[in-house]
Symmetry: D2
Subunit: 318 residues, 4 copies
Amino acid sequence: MERVQSELDRRKPGQSSITTQRKESDTVKILSGVFEGKTLGSPIGFIIENSDAKSKDYDHLKDVYRPSHADFTYDAKYGVRDHRGGGRSSARETACRVVAGAVARQYLEKFGIDVWGYVSSVGEIELNANYQSIDKTQIHSSIVRCPDKEVADRMIQFIEEIRKQGDTVGGTVSCVIQGLPAGIGEPVFDKLNADLAKAMVSINAVKAFELGSGVSASRMLGSDHNDQFSALGKTLSNNSGGIQGGISNGEDITMKVTFKPVATIMRDQDTINSKGEEMVATGKGRHDPCVVPRAVPIVEAMCLLTIADHYLRQKAIG
Amino acid sequence: MERVQSELDRRKPGQSSITTQRKESDTVKILSGVFEGKTLGSPIGFIIENSDAKSKDYDHLKDVYRPSHADFTYDAKYGVRDHRGGGRSSARETACRVVAGAVARQYLEKFGIDVWGYVSSVGEIELNANYQSIDKTQIHSSIVRCPDKEVADRMIQFIEEIRKQGDTVGGTVSCVIQGLPAGIGEPVFDKLNADLAKAMVSINAVKAFELGSGVSASRMLGSDHNDQFSALGKTLSNNSGGIQGGISNGEDITMKVTFKPVATIMRDQDTINSKGEEMVATGKGRHDPCVVPRAVPIVEAMCLLTIADHYLRQKAIG
Amino acid sequence: MERVQSELDRRKPGQSSITTQRKESDTVKILSGVFEGKTLGSPIGFIIENSDAKSKDYDHLKDVYRPSHADFTYDAKYGVRDHRGGGRSSARETACRVVAGAVARQYLEKFGIDVWGYVSSVGEIELNANYQSIDKTQIHSSIVRCPDKEVADRMIQFIEEIRKQGDTVGGTVSCVIQGLPAGIGEPVFDKLNADLAKAMVSINAVKAFELGSGVSASRMLGSDHNDQFSALGKTLSNNSGGIQGGISNGEDITMKVTFKPVATIMRDQDTINSKGEEMVATGKGRHDPCVVPRAVPIVEAMCLLTIADHYLRQKAIG
Amino acid sequence: MERVQSELDRRKPGQSSITTQRKESDTVKILSGVFEGKTLGSPIGFIIENSDAKSKDYDHLKDVYRPSHADFTYDAKYGVRDHRGGGRSSARETACRVVAGAVARQYLEKFGIDVWGYVSSVGEIELNANYQSIDKTQIHSSIVRCPDKEVADRMIQFIEEIRKQGDTVGGTVSCVIQGLPAGIGEPVFDKLNADLAKAMVSINAVKAFELGSGVSASRMLGSDHNDQFSALGKTLSNNSGGIQGGISNGEDITMKVTFKPVATIMRDQDTINSKGEEMVATGKGRHDPCVVPRAVPIVEAMCLLTIADHYLRQKAIG
């Protein structure tokens, strides 16, 4: 279970100058499903207790609807809400996904399947490099999770500036799945690409999902976009992003995920409360100026879980 | 059931000079679940028989793996394949989605919920108009489903040129959901945005899904991206695209869906067959040079089905 | 597909003097999912058209709530009902289960798994024989599906008497699953016994499900009921009915299913209509005086489907 | 949450002379989903920690396959097993069901729906009373959960004798659902009766499920079994047990559930270990001589959960 904890540490708050300063230790405690270091086949129950929750931090939010938060929609849906920490809409929920993904990773690596992501843009600063040229070992040596040192430095500098202004900024995470054999996925109802899309867009703050050629596909011609076979199961290009007709084709699966800027900014914002009265949401608390560095392990985890599900499905019929 | 058929007619092949010339009548025949014009609560079974299938059209494809088609991945998954017409990976499968969407539309419109889409780009030709300025009645008066006549004419001309060259081109469909009340969706496992993403990316040839601000969110600051409340349940901007924390906020839900160029081009392409032997895939058959005009009702149908599901869920607990 | 049809013929009406005289040919037509005699992995669509439906037979039932039928409950649930032939509550629905079971049978027999049932009682007439002493080949040589000729003859005679009186009678079907290895099933949420119970009780007219020792277990002591191991995976007795903790133990799975007498009797019965007015339901139509002979292939089909599902699940993790 | 705890106390061990003497306090601690005494709509997470687990009690079981336990089947399925306390096959798992049922009860009672069970037999000792004549207040004044004092006393005496012999005995629990309106359930795939059967047979040690007339239906004639309407939605008899065609008819739903004798007896039993070697399973530990008294709240809980699910489903379409 050391690997589960180390995976979780990649996501934890307070790990660098460009993340939130909340100091949660994020220690995972396994409750069930693991015995003498092995999974038992039964559900793996675990708990990650809050170590640095300051309920007081949220007292001022009791009746406020913060702009672009889920405060209002939760009230609209349920008619009752736990205002402390955003409740279930808090990105803290994704810690559980990272734990589950860490288990899936240990399963998938037995079959030579690897998943890795990196920050490919922060605001206007983009990494212009093909993923195949990336040195994976450099990703996590950078606090911004961008493998190109020069670009990473500019990203870090920009995030620090933005933070001083009490503002936040968006970005993108790119992710690659390697070693997945051809034939994994489903043809109509749970296409592998569709399930990856759902997995990614389910992550807090995600606004767009692109597979392979992504949004650029709309401007391309078929004669350019088509991936010619070079050999059985190998293609010269990979605009498809590794999936055809909902099923993996044995090429790398490549995707890009867009994150909006964090909604909690350290500035006062005009807003309303639950009675519709105008008021000011003050920018208190300790939040990330940019989520993408901490989002890398979350994106990976959701890929790992999606791939593990589909891999198991195929094993049943294979 | 007339409305079901008319919805299906919007998708059918052979409807204009810029779509495939296959002349399928696409007549839906209801088998069960409807009695004296009313749904019974039981499953609605229906069949759309092929009227213009020419199996001969596909004889030359028996062992060929067409580039960027699902021929290879189906063989990899199942080890057996019906080569006639792409089998289940054929976009013809989406006709069923349009029928189901037509039923969902009749349910949702009782609650004042409307869904409508349009072509927002073909290749490099883009419609630069806010959806709020669009005259919906103009969408279907255009064979390319673009509501701006000048832009539509350029799109049509471009598609016709591309077709003459035996090539194909990508494009985008934008879609809007209006009238959905706040509070529809789920907070974690089936977020409304995640389910919409899955629904859209499940459509053949889709490469990207964007909600609200979409890919542009990565370049924005929080102070610009946040949607300020103007009144209870109303915001001044709509970068969120109508969803917060997986739940609708009562604003219009806006999305953009990118389609790649159709893989079947009317040119010879180098490829391989099921034995790995090099060969040439000849460009026969009758295919669309650009799918987006016929994709509009499909995008709408998938929205309608997703919204109907979530609406029913909320009714259970509301 | 010949085997699918022959399985279906075991269930069809009009096959003997003790079943309904409706002469439906029950011909299954495959619509999809099978190509050149092999399943494709995609859904197998099929249709069994009514050949002897006489809508007139049901005209007198338009507003009547027949005693112990689903007429009233369908109206209560849906507020609208197709009164012709019982609609979806007709046991005719089970023909589809038999078709699906026939496909599952062909899959399971590759692994040496067999499922077979027989009539073990009609009214008070019981077959007092351990299933292990039964000659399976004798089951279907009897129109009442009871493998003991002497008992079968008494059952047939009794059913014919009952029919002359315009009445109906209940009975039981016993079923055995053989060749299933140990380790199939789930420990909590989808226990194999629980799924078999659901499958059996979902069949029209079933009132009770018993596994292994069944209702007699309530009167037994643990020292008698416990199945001692004779060897690894073999036990001396089988009160457990082949399942422990939701998971198969490699012994035969044995069960007994109780069917109530058919509700449609050929006598006039006092009842009410949809306005609550008293009236008489006349005993018209062509119905079975006892369902158990035709229920044997249905019980088998539901076992086959349940086992195939669980077998595939285990293959995924095995 | 007091009501959740009190429901759980009805199931807890050590509550009387005829139950196991393990003294688990079974205190439920809510982790999530409840705020200021109200459910939030999000999952209700809770934990019941073991207070009296004595791992030593199970050391002698490490490699033994106890007769009629799940030791062997878990090994067959997973190839790995936590031998302490039966692991997940322990009836202790049902404590969670009782907690969940207690929440469902609070929801359903708002609509006037009540669920109550009682012990109707222990070994050969049966309560011969129609449920309508039962004084519900007497059920829980009896440690054996049988509302007739004279019968209860005989049951208690018999259980104590059996325990002295180191043996166990089976029994039955009867359960009634009252106040459920007509129209709840599904017509084919999730029939209310089928879901109740699955729910009941999923409880540890259950061998049979009977609805309404149950196994006696096999011996009845249709003219006797049919329930004549006395008024709209009211019938003179209730052999149907309150469900027709998978859907409730507004009458009381009545069922009977058979429990086998507990497999753990306080006697030595011949058995084998995981290597197939013969050995003796010694009768240590603290177990129930008869489970039915403690099973009453479990049966009720599974009914409550099943009914709540179906009630919510119907609300969605109603």
